[in-house]
C-alpha cells in the first residue's frame, strides 16, 4: 500500500489524556491513521489500547486532548457520533445480541424503516450481499440467531457489520483472539482487503505474527504513553517487542516522535 506520509491523516489524535480515578490510563497519547492504512496498535495488558479506542469510539470521554478526523477537529460523545463520522468498532467481546438473528444484529441501532416500521426484506437482502462480498460463506442462513453461530462466524458478522456502513475507519479489537488458524487467515485477509479499499483500519492485537502479516505501521503503547511508531517494512518483531516491554516516550513536547520523524 502506498501511504502518503504528507497527506491529511484520516484520524489524528494529539495529547489524549484519560484517567480513571487515580489510574492514568492514557497520558498524552499522540496517534494517527492514514486513509488506506492498516495501523496496528500494540502494547502489553494495561497499556491503554482499549481505553484509546473507546475514546475514539465515544464510549469514554477523554479528559483532554484533540481528535481530528479528516483534518477537522471533532468531539465524539457517543457511538452514534462515531458512526456518523464513519468510525466503526468491532469489540473484543463482539457486542452482538445472542437472541437476535444475523440480519437484526447487522442492522442493530440502524434498522431500515419506513415511519419506524421495519423493512425486513431489504435488510435481509443487503446482509446476504455484504456477507457474500466478504466471502463469508459458512453462515447458512442470515435468519438464524447469533446464539447458534460459532466464534469465527460471530467475528465475521461483527466485522461485516462494521464494514457495511460505508465506514471510513474500522477499529478491530483483537479480531482473531478466539479464532482457529483457518478463520484467523480469513479475518486477516479481510483486514487487508479493508485497507486496500481505502479504509483506515486500526488493528489491536497481542499477536505480533498477525500484526506483521497485515499492518502497514505499528504504534506501540506502554503504560498509557505512545512509545514509538514503526513502519512494518523497515522494522523487526524484535524492535517492537522491545518497545512493548521497555519503550520510553521519545518525543519532546511539540516535536514529532523520532521513529516517525522524516529522515
Amino acid at each position: 500500500m502506498n501511504v502518503s506520509a504528507n497527506g491529511t491523516p484520516l484520524l489524528e489524535i494529539r495529547g489524549l489524556t484519560k484517567s480513571f480515578g487515580s489510574v492514568q490510563a492514557l497520558d498524552g497519547v499522540d496517534f494517527q491513521v492514514q486513509p488506506g492504512e492498516v495501523m496496528a496498535l500494540v502494547g502489553d495488558n494495561g497499556a491503554g489500547k482499549s481505553t484509546l479506542i473507546k475514546c475514539i469510539a465515544g464510549t469514554h470521554a477523554a479528559d483532554s486532548g484533540t481528535v481530528l478526523f479528516e483534518g477537522h477537529e471533532v468531539h465524539i460523545h457517543g457511538p452514534k457520533d462515531a458512526g456518523k463520522l464513519g468510525i466503526e468498532v468491532v469489540y473484543q467481546d463482539l457486542a452482538l445480541c445472542d437472541n437476535l438473528d444475523v440480519v437484526q444484529n447487522m442492522y442493530l441501532g440502524r434498522e431500515t424503516n419506513r415511519f419506524q416500521v421495519l423493512s425486513e426484506a431489504p435488510m435481509e437482502q443487503h446482509t446476504s450481499e455484504t456477507l457474500a462480498s466478504l466471502a463469508v460463506t459458512t453462515i447458512k442462513s442470515v435468519r438464524q440467531t447469533v446464539a447458534t453461530l460459532s466464534g469465527g462466524q460471530r467475528q465475521s458478522v461483527a466485522v461485516a457489520r462494521a464494514v457495511m456502513w460505508n465506514s471510513k475507519l474500522v477499529i478491530l479489537d483483537e479480531p482473531t483472539a478466539a479464532l482457529g488458524v483457518a478463520q484467523t487467515e480469513q479475518v486477516l485477509a479481510l483486514v487487508r482487503r479493508l485497507g486496500e479499499q481505502g479504509l483506515g483500519v486500526i488493528l489491536i492485537s497481542h499477536n505480533l505474527h498477525d500484526v506483521f502479516e497485515t499492518a502497514d505501521r505499528i504504534t506501540v503503547l506502554r503504560l498509557g504513553r505512545d512509545v514509538g511508531i514503526f513502519d512494518r517494512r523497515t522494522t523487526t518483531q524484535q524492535a517492537v517487542v522491545e518497545a512493548i516491554t521497555a519503550g520510553v516516550p521519545t518525543k519532546v513536547a511539540g516535536l514529532p516522535s523520532t521513529a516517525e520523524a522524516p529522515a
Partner: protein
Amino acid sequence: MTTADADVVGPDRPAPLEEEQIPGGFAGLYQRAWLNLRTGNLGPIPIIVGEVLVVIIFGLTATNFFTAVNFVNLITETAGTAMLAYGVVYVLLLGEIDLSIGYVAGIGALIVAELQLPGSSVQMNGILAMLIAVIACAAIGAFQGSIVAFVGVPSFVVTLAGFLIWQGVILNKLEQRGTIIIQDRWINYTDAYIFSQWLGWIIAAFFTALYPISILYKLIVARGTQIAQQNWLLVGVKTLAVAIASFGTVAIANHGKVISTPLGLPLAGVIIVLFFVLLTFLAKWTTFGRHVYAVGGSAEAARRAGISVPRIRVLVFAISGATAGIGGIIFAAQVNSVALTFPPGNLLLNAIASAVIGGVSLFGGRGEVRGALLGALLIGTLQNGLNTLNVSNGWIYIITGLVLLGAVMLDTFARRLQARSGR
C-alpha cells in the same frame, strides 16, 4: 411451490438446520412441523393444547362451564389480567420486573372513579377520565422506569417500593369512603358493552383480515429483492386458524342469552385483541420493538450499537404502567366501583404467571405478546372452570401454581432440546 420456499421470511421460519431440503406444499408443512417438534421448537402449541384440554375437562365435568354465557364471562374476567400481562411481557423482555402493576391498576381505577364522580368539581366525561387515568399510569411507570434507568436501582426494588406506595395511596383515598361507585356509562362499557350481532361479525372479519394484510405488506417491502416468497400453504393455514378463532368467538358470544336478552361480543374482548395486535406490532414490526429485544438480549451490545438503553427502559415501564391502568379500569368496570379490596385476587401474580406460562423468559430477550394472551386465557379458563365446579379458593391457587410450574418445566425441557440440536 418451489424449493425457494425454504427461505421463508419472517419469525415463523424454522431454524436453518436442515431447511434447505424442506420442499413447499403439504410435504414441506409436514417436514417443518416434524423438524420443529423434534428439536423442541414448540412455539405456542403446548399452551394451546393445554387450553383445549382444560376446556374439554371442564366441559365434561362442570354443568355451567360449557355455555355461551360463561364464555362471555370468561372473556370479560380474563380481559383485565391479559392487559396487565401484556405490560409484563415488555418488562420481562428487558429482563426487568414490575411488581407495582397491581396497585398501579388500582390507581388507574381510582382516578377514573374520582374524575367521573357526579357532583364533584372535576366531574368529566368518562372517556376523558379514562384517557387521563391511562396517561397518569403511564407517567407512574415512566417515573419508576427512570429510577431504574438513570439511578440504577434494580427494578425489583423500585417497583416493590411502588407496590407499597401506590397501595398506600389507595388506602388513604378509600379508607374513609370505602367504595366509589362508577356511574359513567363509558367507563362501565369497557367491561360490559355488548356489540350487536352483525357488528360482532364485522369485527371478526376485521381482525381476520389483519394477518393476510401483514403478509401482503411483507411482500410489498420485499419487492425488488431476491428474498424468497412465503409458503402460501402455511399462510393459508394460519389465516384459517385466525378466522376460526375470531369468527368462532363471535359465534359463541352471539349464541348466548341472559334470560331473554341476547348476548354478543363484549367490548372487553375487543379491547384485549386490539391491544394484542397493537403491542405485537410494536414489538415485532417497529424499530422500538427491535431495540427492546436487543436491550433484553445484551444491554451492552445495544448501547454500543447506539441505542439509548435508558430511553427504552423508561418507555417500557411507561407501557407497563399504561397497560396496568387500562386493566385496572376494566376491573373497576366489572364491579362498577372501586373499593378497598382492589386489585381483585392475585392480580399481580396472575399477570406475571400469564406471561411466564406464555413462554416469556424472565431473563430478557425472549418471548412474545401472544404468550401473555394465551397464558391469561389458560389461567382464566382454569380459574373460571374451577369456580363453576365450586372448588375452594385454596385449591384454585394450588392448581394454578402447579400449571405454572408445569408450563415452565416444559419450556425448560424444550429449550434444552433446542440447545442440543444447535438452535
